[in-house]
Symmetry: D2
Subunit: 254 residues, 4 copies
């Protein structure tokens, strides 16, 4: 009761020009929306030294440390994923090629943890380099960007060769790092033009590095972004020749 009275008083303190007329015609129920009822999800739990929770109940577990069943070779979808699995992590097997998920996705939330080698070799793009390709096409860069200057749109947290991260919250090589990715897919018209672009929001180690960033197209090493119509696509992990590891990977279709 008291709260309702306070609400009414609150209306009086709003300046007249912006007040809503006829409050007497409104009831609290007028602005309630009951259906559909949001579906129940059991959130994951923080265990061990994970940087994020285990998979929520409605997520597809892409990797929990036990095997590569959800993955195949990026070069040949009929071949097994060539990464190595040890101690709960999967690691690039250099020169054996990248891997991609068996399943394909549209709009999604992705959690993935990664680690660049503790033994630092090389510099710039040559140090702890890998990548996460959203829908198999758009690269979210993975790089050891700890005291390792390279071009801003090529460091960890960047949409490769497009948008730099807002900040650089990367940890030291050898430490696990986390990505939380919220992605909505592009829409193309009959001409092959984009009518609704892909957007992505990314947290790196819990810090926002991409903020509803429009993806401009492909993310090639040489050349500028282009747009080619596509439907759902997999998550792909790059073999860039470095011993980058991954763990605790799960995805929820939005």
């Amino acid at each position: 009761m008291k709260r309702i009275i306070l609400s009414a008083l609150g209306l009086l303190t709003l300046s007249g020009a912006y007040a809503q007329l006829k409050p007497e015609k409104m009831t609290p129920e007028s602005s309630e929306l009951w259906d559909p009822e949001p579906r129940l999800v059991t959130p994951g739990t923080l265990t061990g030294n994970l940087l994020g929770t285990t998979a929520p109940s409605d997520a597809l577990v892409l990797f929990d440390g036990s095997g590569l069943d959800q993955w195949v070779s990026s070069e040949d979808a009929k071949s097994p994923a060539p990464f190595t699995v040890k101690d709960g992590a999967m690691t690039v097997a250099p020169k054996k090629g990248g891997i991609q998920t068996r399943q394909e996705f549209g709009d999604f939330q992705l959690h993935i943890e990664w680690r660049s080698p503790s033994e630092v070799k090389g510099s710039g793009q040559g140090r702890g380099n890998s990548g996460i390709f959203l829908q198999g096409i758009y690269e979210l860069q993975v790089l050891d960007s700890y005291n390792n200057r390279t071009y801003a749109n090529g460091q960890a947290g960047s949409i490769y060769k497009q948008t730099p991260p807002l900040v650089n919250p990367v940890k030291a090589p050898g430490e696990w790092q986390s990505y939380d990715v919220i992605y909505t897919a592009p829409r193309f018209n009959k001409d092959g033009m984009v009518t609704v672009p892909a957007y992505v929001t990314v947290l790196l180690n819990g810090v926002v590095v991409q903020l509803h960033t429009q993806i401009q197209g492909t993310t090639p090493y040489v050349g500028r972004p282009i747009n080619k119509p596509h439907g759902k696509g997999p998550i792909s992990l790059q073999d860039h020749g470095d011993l980058v590891s991954f763990r605790n990977i799960w995805i929820r279709e939005l």
Copy 2:
């Protein structure tokens, strides 16, 4: 003429009609962007049973369990914040009013953890009810929504009386829950109309519940959203009469 021929050849190596011509004129450096260099941030760490990291190095710690220095009374900014502090958590002191931060914010990333009482009393909106007001105006609902049906746009994870959460990943009463909020402020013109709306993305217990949601205006208990121009604003926490607790609160200006 020569270009067209090269284009045709390009088609063979790239895929079809969407290939970019003249790749021979490009170098990897053409698409590098070096400056400004993203600022370094040391990410927070996971300690104890926190549901998120401690504050990153560029965050303002709003509450780490030790005191309410960053907060004042919502009713009188010259009065101390009336919440109680115990065991590393702050808790609503029913009927003593809400609290708000001393500082004000524009675009921000906010982390906050909350807990509804383990002893369940009441139902619907009467159970474990509080709220987090973004810029002191727009309410992200806090509610014990565990086995507690209420209107969808009034349960935990909703923008109150506006947008329901995409799913309901809430935990049992007595357990800590986390919000990660990414918010960009609205822009108003001289007429008081919105030209660029506020948008918010929210993760509840690590699960996306608001996905670049446009905030429609104020979030009153009675009445519909209205828009009144404003500048920066505080984070406010509501006293709705229930013993809701908060901890591990930090904010980064984006």
Copy 3:
């Protein structure tokens, strides 16, 4: 030649921190994108006293004054459209019901001209009232809003019961008025929740009244917006009992 030199000089005047490094590695061709080539469209022409051009070559002409072939009854898609056609305009036949297009649309650009009766009767919502339903669902209000105060989110240029127009550029009753509408359709997930909202930009008599406005859901007379998944939908015109007329209607799928 001279222009290229000036470009190089221009780089020097940029403040260092934001300059792009290594311009010597770039060529003009590096940022050219050749394919796909934008499809040719012959724009429409301004003729007679139309407020917009006739249909561009890739538009579907929904009404050019000659007949209602593209329309059916909203109440029964097997029945002919009950509006009357005279002097190049179609007019609501009060109490005979609304009309809708035979074809359905997703993302589109719509041009439509409308006229409220020159003889003013009634006031508020009772004067020159009709509506244009985007995808048959979301109402862009048509109303004689000339010296006729009503609720802001119910006047001409509003998304009905949602978002008021930024300004009121309406003409006197009896004069033709124009809408140019740019609309992208919503995307729903399996739960029936919106993942990508519908957005609309509207010019009324050439003046922006809706600016990338997020459509919140349905636009009922009583009740708040709700969201129910749907695919493509028609353009519908409302019979609200007033002799509102329409002309020069064309639509382009985006």
Copy 4:
């Protein structure tokens, strides 16, 4: 308790999972929004052979054919604008430099008409080339793109070296063409990073060519887009050496 019972009953009387409960508690007034009342604007009129209306009452007339009072030299803001004025049009005076408005703008709606020379000379970027710089920085390309193939992100309707037009609705050289531009300015943070990008929607000859396109940064001839913080800025028109003309230019701050 009573409320819950009513809710259950409501489910029975409405249609299925998406119905909104408790309509009996709603009235039509519940969803009315009365204030602020949208400001009155008298729309412009179509006269002569203009491709758009004259300026609405709240617009700033930048050029109505009578003189260059609103413009100065882009190279020296204290010098008069070097374009020539004749027969109601202003025309580039080759090699005398571009021009820019005296006033600066944030979010705006711009109408401008342009004409490339009827005598065709050159090809590609060398034919009827000029440009409209939004906030003096971001180029909306002006080019004789009639039967004149060039790179897609360099033809009329493109955001130069960024986003091609969705289609090519350009008219023959010597004919007047129109741009209607709806622009919201970017927001930068203290680090110089973009938090809210600039977006632009463009109609060329009444046909949508840019659809809420995110502007990626500057639009250089050589190099890729960069972002440098700025406030309001002028409208600038380019001298690219060709005799491009402009007329009927007006702007409204949004």
